[in-house]
Amino acid sequence: MNPPTRTTWILAPSRLGEIALGPDQRIVAQAEALRTTGHRVVLGVMDCERKLPEGISFLPLAEAVEKIRPGDPVLVQPGLRVRFLWKLLRRRIPLHVDFFNVISSESLDNFPRHYSPRVARRMGRSMCFREAVLAQYARRIYVSNAGQMSFLAGLVAPISASRASDLPARCMEVPMGIPNHPMPTELDFPYPAELEGRPVFLWGGGIWSWMDPRPLLRAFRILQDRGSPAALFFIAGRNHSTNADENRPMEEARAFADSIGVSGRSVFFNGRRATPSDLPAYLVHCRAGILYNAPTLESRQSWRTRLLDLLWAGKPALVSGRDPLSDHMKMAGSAMEAGDSPERIADSVEGMLAGDTTAMESNARALGRSMTWSKVLEPLVDSMSEPNAFHGLGDRFSLSNYWRIHLA
């Protein structure tokens, strides 16, 4: 497909640094994939301290939004401020929305828990309405998995029956990927000295309110009592977020680990802040990854990037299931179901230690090779390069929708 001669815009509320994680890493990968297929890419973000290659430039978001012309390929992240969205939508700029992560499904449970009913109601309605309006308006929607699409359709249904109904025709699965380059392997042991020689099961990210580490902690108590050398290591000793409330699940997990007597014996919380560049060492020196989800809608719609890290490292995973990527990994033979009780989880850990995991590791590497950024972004690049993808004007966007999002 021929790349468009016009500028391709990626708009996101990000501050891009030299090291990019999660959504920022995705934006950078998208820009790079589009650039290599001949697009002239402008990153319209809040700030960019990153050195950009030729063919990719940076423009402050507010300026970028003003410069976009109808017909330009535009890819938008749904977290954009309403005033920026409004500027695009009222000019009926056709756009694609990168919904790889449906934030409202993460927040479903959080708002009522952390805010007063009035604030929770306002925040929830505003967020869901913004996502619904974008899903209604977007010509093309990129999601991580089909469950997100069904959830979005539920959000859109009260606003527009026809746009909810045709959502599958506008959606494309473009999940997060893993780096194109192989993981470095010659790295020093990064874990505390007392873990030297012990099989480490790595919890490779934060503990968020929608996860459920308690069965794991109980399982490691059982393993400790059985004299197993297995150790559970939480790479993020705290959730480094500007929102102090987000550290609460981590504090609760620590308190629970202390209360059952596993802290510092079979369960360890990282005392250091691990940066993205430190991650490969933790991955290389772990025995396997471990993840336990609660049975929530968030899990069913997630795409756990910490599992992608394991695929990059060629490490097996012990998982609760209930999330699309771990289900995919189980089918590919790179992950093992942990079981639904602490006893079963403990048995699974011991089973993994006693068995040969070479095949699982090789399956993980093979699956990882099929999920590199360049491969997962292929449909997005093709779709953004279609000659008529951004042709004409977008649907009419009413002022009342704007105020409904703004005031919720």
Partner: protein
């Protein structure tokens, strides 16, 4: 009054509707649940709007009215259809009766397709009432039975924009109360040896059977275009619509059938490679049509209805050991394809569909191979297996204990005025 520990738990199936000697779809499901519960030793009370069938031992049939609720004792197993009359549901939800919800089909996804044709006020009321009904039932039900994971996500999305934050919590935790118990495949041996029921003009030709109604949400255009191509290239394949007229009493479903016949005529395939049944085919005639077809066909657009569906006509094909050729994804066609019991082609692509049909029409061995796999799949998806979570729930000691908060009169008011 509490039942004693040793007493088998009575089962109340509040389903409404009609059950006759020949059953399809929801009626068959209701019957299968009742039979299985009775087989497990539960005294079964099947509560319907009407019936013309003699119940087997262990099953009592009663008429659905609010007085039935007075007979339910604490701890009895109660399974409710979300589509029974609102008045009965309201009374049920106001009482502290724990129940499970047999929500196998989320009609909201079907309604999405029909809403644009309705008057604005009716549209609003339909949408609003459905959401209120779903939200309240999902809140009150202890366990919810659905057909596939898309239905759970769709319901979660529907609940979330509610002004009541507790419904966001309900949406978030919905998967913890959902169990998948879709429609199943018949277990009795498929009857063979019936006479060929198709018009004599198509005897000897490979018939591709559209084995149910023509609803608004199907992609009939792609299917007809595929047969235009097949006819043009001289393929013997013939498409037969089992229901040549609207099989329901609802006039809203007349349009799609008329449109399909008109379009087939316009394309020059009517009576040649495309036939509409001139007779009303009842459930008892279905096996003959299945036995004498080469394969089934299905055509879905890329829509939420298709994604949330569970096409029971495919289960009929599995029962008969016939494969299916499907254009556009739906969950059950996806399973057929993965099991090598069917062929799934790209949505809205008549060429690909025609090629797949032509391939099967001319390759009897391949058809037989796919058909054998379909029969095997049917056994894996028998009623006993698909309803196992529901039937196990009936005797689970911890089940039928929890009730959510009863809906307020404000709920009733909102439901009544549709706001």
């Amino acid at each position: 009054m509490e039942r004693s520990m040793n007493e088998a738990r009575p089962v109340w199936l509040l389903f409404g509707g009609n059950i006759g000697p020949m059953r399809l779809g929801p009626a068959q499901r209701t019957w299968e649940i009742a039979l299985r519960a009775a087989r497990e030793g539960h005294p079964v009370h099947l509560v319907l709007d009407s019936w013309d069938v003699e119940p087997p031992a262990g099953i009592d049939i009663e008429r659905l009215h609010s007085g039935v609720l007075d007979k339910i004792r604490h701890g009895d197993a109660v399974i409710v259809s979300p589509y029974i009359r609102g008045r009965i549901l309201w009374r049920l939800m106001r009482r502290p009766i724990p129940f499970h919800l047999d929500f196998y089909c989320v009609t909201a996804a079907e309604i999405l397709e029909m809403l644009p044709d309705w008057p604005r006020r009716e549209r609003w009321i339909q949408r609003f009432r459905r959401r209120v009904r779903y939200a309240t039932l999902l809140e009150r039900a202890e366990t919810v039975y659905l057909s596939n994971a898309h239905q759970t996500a769709f319901l979660g999305g529907l609940l979330f924009p509610s002004p009541d934050p507790s419904q966001a919590t309900l949406a978030a935790r919905l998967p913890s109360k959902v169990q998948e118990a879709p429609m199943g495949c018949r277990e009795e041996t498929f009857p063979t040896g019936a006479e060929n029921p198709y018009p004599t003009s198509i005897h000897g030709r490979p018939v591709f059977l559209w084995g149910g109604g023509i609803w608004r949400w199907f992609d009939i255009e792609t299917l007809l275009q595929a047969f235009v191509q097949l006819q043009a290239k001289g393929s013997p394949a013939v498409l037969f619509f089992l229901a040549g007229s609207n099989p329901t009493k609802e006039s809203v479903h007349d349009g799609p059938v008329r449109a399909a016949i008109g379009r087939a005529r316009e394309l020059g395939v009517l009576g040649k490679s495309v036939h509409f049944n001139q007779r009303a085919a009842g459930p008892s005639q279905l096996p003959a049509y299945l036995e004498h077809c080469a394969a089934g066909v299905m055509a879905n657009p890329a829509s939420m209805e298709a994604l949330c569906s569970w096409r029971t006509r495919l289960l009929d094909l599995a029962w008969a050991g016939r494969p299916v050729v499907t254009s556009g994804y739906d969950p059950l066609s996806g399973i057929f394809s993965r099991f090598d019991a069917g062929i799934l082609t790209t949505v809205g692509d008549p060429g690909a569909l025609a090629e797949a049909i032509d391939g099967l029409a001319s390759a009897q061995d391949r058809r037989r191979e796919l058909g054998e796999n379909a029969a095997l799949l049917g056994r894996k998806m028998s009623w006993s297996r698909t309803l196992a979570p529901l039937v196990e729930g009936l005797s689970s000691e911890g089940a039928f204990r929890k009730t959510g908060a009863p809906p307020s009169f404000y709920w009733l008011l909102r439901y009544a005025v549709g706001r």
